[in-house]
């Protein structure tokens, strides 16, 4: 008897949630520009990340100051600029390096000393100077690494001319797993999913709920026989659907256009994505309840979800490189667990046995934030 009563109440409650969701869906559909924007964004970002964001730089412009002008120095320059990683932009005066850097004409100047040829012939040690523009950190690191490797290649070439070259005493074999070609897209797509979900879920919810406060229609909703929890669930449901669509879009496009593999289980992927999304929607709700103003909600959303999921999730910058307070902070950022889980599923083919802590973390966050935000939502009105 009591069970039947409960079932009836549950059914009526579900109908009310459904009505709220239908109303919110109508809102979204009546002006589909929001929907377009929400669905176009992931695709645009995917293309941008896939094509535009790469850390590897080729054809770096290098100026050559060959003070020796001998056969040996020309051979050195050929080795250094021959591989196409560093490209000669012509001769330069070392004194002019500064001007060259300021105008962006070259990122480094290789100075070959006057006595280079003689010293090589006499089998001595030669110092080659590399003047580099340190203002672009990523470029200068690559210039240094590439120049170092190319000069070592020239040393070996010189040594190779020796007839009595013994077998190398030590050899290194490097195997790169999961992403042997070192493609940035494979690294970025899982992170991108987290970023897009954080952006749309938190900010769209925050904006739509804050909009109801601004217009005063929230009070009207409360006057209706719908309970607070039902309002929350109904309002979040359409955005949950949009978010899941976005997640699928990112993976589908990533696989189709950038050959991002799906090595693990797709259902685990959806499960982690779902709970992350619920957490993000809850966070958006919390922000809107606290701010009640769309402009302020935007900023709060950017600060609390968008930036952390971009910077502290390990999406672009490895967490191990951060100072310890930020490493600690990253442990409470749900995007960190999503990025780790998605990379594990897509690239490594990890299963639940490896990824259960990540799943647990996103579930925990979702439950916690939903609890806090509904509690706060109710208190706000009483």
């Amino acid at each position: 008897m009591a069970e039947a009563l409960d079932a009836g109440r549950l059914r009526r409650s579900l109908i009310r949630v459904g009505a709220m969701a239908a109303k919110e869906t109508l809102h979204v559909l009546r002006d589909p520009r929001t929907l377009y924007l929400a669905l176009v964004m992931p695709v645009v970002m995917l293309f941008l990340f896939g094509y535009g964001v790469s850390f590897d730089v080729d054809h770096l412009p290098l100026a050559i100051a060959d003070l020796d002008r001998s056969e040996a120095s020309r051979a050195l320059v050929r080795t250094v600029t021959g591989a196409g990683e560093l490209v000669s932009v012509g001769p330069a005066d070392p004194a002019e390096a500064d001007r060259l850097f300021r105008r962006g004409g070259a990122v480094a100047v290789l100075v070959v000393p006057r006595d280079y040829g003689q010293k090589v012939a006499r089998r001595e040690r030669v110092e080659l100077q590399l003047l580099a523009d340190g203002s672009d950190v990523m470029v200068v690191n690559q210039v240094l690494a590439k120049a170092e490797a190319l000069v070592r290649a020239e040393t070996q070439r010189l040594a190779g001319l020796e007839p009595a070259r013994a077998d190398p005493p030590l050899q290194v074999k490097i195997w790169t797993r999961y992403n042997p070609a070192g493609r940035s897209a494979l690294f970025l797509v899982p992170g991108l999913a987290a970023y897009i979900l954080a952006l749309t879920a938190v900010l769209l919810t925050a904006l739509t709920v804050a909009g109801e406060w601004e217009r005063g229609s929230m009070e009207q909703l409360f006057a209706s026989p719908v309970s607070r929890l039902e309002i929350v669930l109904g309002k979040l449901a359409p955005y949950l659907v949009i978010g899941m669509l976005e997640l699928l879009l990112v993976v589908a496009f990533g696989a189709a256009v950038f050959d991002v593999p799906v090595r693990g289980s797709l259902s685990l992927f959806l499960l982690v994505g779902f709970f992350f999304l619920v957490g993000m929607l809850g966070q958006g709700l919390l922000i809107s309840v606290v701010t009640r103003n769309q402009l302020v909600a935007t900023q709060a959303g950017t600060l609390s979800s968008l930036l952390p999921s971009l910077l502290l999730s390990g999406m672009v910058v490895p967490i191990e490189n951060m100072p310890w307070p930020l490493q600690l902070l990253s442990r409470v950022i749900p995007a960190r667990y999503l990025v780790h889980a998605l990379r594990g599923i897509l690239l490594k083919g990890n299963g639940l046995s490896v990824l259960w802590p990540d799943l647990l973390a996103v579930i925990l966050f979702a439950v916690l934030v939903l609890f806090v935000s509904t509690a706060r939502f109710q208190r706000r009105l009483a």
Binding site: M41, A132, L170, V317, N321
Partner: protein
């Protein structure tokens, strides 16, 4: 523009300006998001984004277990690029730790390493790297091959010497890095971040602020007053120009104090650059507000502009790493030019002469965008 010269127009402009300033300053949360939030974000960015990859968590599987192999392992890990976190006893552990992400690289020293080296046979060291993060895997691979390459070279030299033959010439690269000799990330990142935050703050705030007025119908109310659309436009954006300048000053100051960013160039370059840049960012905000009906839409549309502009600006990854057709597209990206102006002026000490190209580009883009926005704004209202 001629309308601004007349006394009546000036009075009107002052009135609109005053109203906007009061409205903005009245809400402390608004001031927080315009001034404090960018500062906070700069601090997080500055500490979190560090592109010098080191501390790569490394697993060592020493199958030799002699003094020689232990010494090699210790020396390899000594400089901190590869950081020994684990030692394994079998290949199964290598697989497991790479799968879970406990280690990002594994160094396997072969059985009989010491014996092979002593006997002059070629010993083979294996390095297995997690390629998920291409940036990190490149650094890890380079560090391992550089270390073992040097060891091998030294041994080859010693052997030649022992055999009574003369070793070949040795080339050594001596880098001299200007502007940022320690290759620290913050001096490189902070100027770019300033460009990014200025874009987010001014574009989103203008777009959403105007959309809000449209939502509430207050824009129409102002239109029935004798204020001209042009005057209204300038009065509305003028406070944000002021806030933009305050933000730039704050960010640069925080950059110098907290992160040691130098100020080497003439300040007028920064002022002119910032003014031209604000023309674009505010213009985009206006444009967005004229094509969207709600705040939610203008936020999404604003972000649809901001995301590509940020990703293709060279702030996060070098422009040179993009495919050539994308590099050409970045010419119409104001963020790219402003970041270039900021970096070049602050770090390299570049003046107007060096930065003529990006400044002219900024002026061209800013003028075009602002004109288009102003025209659209007038027709929408008139």
């Amino acid at each position: 523009m001629s309308a601004l010269g007349r006394p009546k127009a000036r009075v009107q402009l002052a009135a609109v300006f005053r109203k906007e300033v009061r409205q903005t300053a009245r809400d402390p949360r608004m001031m927080f998001m315009l001034v404090v939030a960018p500062l906070l974000q700069t601090l997080i960015f500055g500490f979190a984004v560090d592109f010098t990859t080191d501390h790569v968590p490394t697993l060592v599987l020493d199958r030799d277990g002699t003094d020689v192999s232990r010494l090699q392992a210790r020396r390899l890990l000594a400089d901190g690029t590869l950081q020994g976190v684990l030692s394994a006893t079998g290949p199964a552990e290598v697989d497991r730790d790479l799968d879970t992400g406990a280690a990002a690289a594994a160094v396997i020293l072969p059985r009989r390493l010491a014996a092979d080296l002593a006997a002059g046979r070629t010993a083979e060291v294996q390095v297995v790297i997690d390629g998920t993060n291409p940036n990190q895997s490149t650094v890890a691979g380079a560090a391992a091959s550089q270390y073992f390459g040097q060891v091998a070279e030294q041994m080859a030299r010693d052997r030649l010497g022992a055999a009574g033959r003369e070793p070949p010439a040795q080339l050594e690269l001596v880098p001299r890095i200007s502007y940022n000799p320690e290759v620290k990330s913050p001096p490189y990142m902070i100027p770019g971040i300033a460009a990014l935050l200025l874009l987010v703050v001014t574009t989103v705030v203008t777009a959403m602020g105007l959309a809000r007025e449209r939502e509430m119908g207050t824009l129409e109310q102002v239109m029935v007053t004798p204020i001209r659309p042009t005057v209204l436009l300038f009065g509305k954006i003028a406070p944000y120009v002021v806030i933009g300048f305050v933000d730039v000053m704050l960010l640069v100051t925080a950059g110098t104090w907290v992160f040691g960013v130098p100020i080497r160039g003439p300040l007028p370059v920064l002022v002119v650059g910032t003014l031209l840049y604000l023309l674009t960012t505010l213009g985009v905000g206006l444009l967005v507000s004229t094509i969207s009906r709600t705040q939610q839409q203008s936020f999404l549309a604003g972000f649809l502009f901001i995301m590509p502009a940020v990703l293709l600006s060279g702030v996060m990854t070098p422009v040179r790493s993009m495919p050539e057709w994308l590099q050409a597209v970045t010419w119409i990206n104001p963020v790219r030019h402003y970041a270039e102006v900021m970096r070049s002026c602050l770090l390299r000490g570049a003046g107007f002469g060096d930065l003529a190209t990006p400044l002219l580009a900024l002026a061209g883009i800013g003028g075009a965008v602002f004109l288009a926005a102003a025209l659209r704004f007038r027709t929408r209202l008139g």
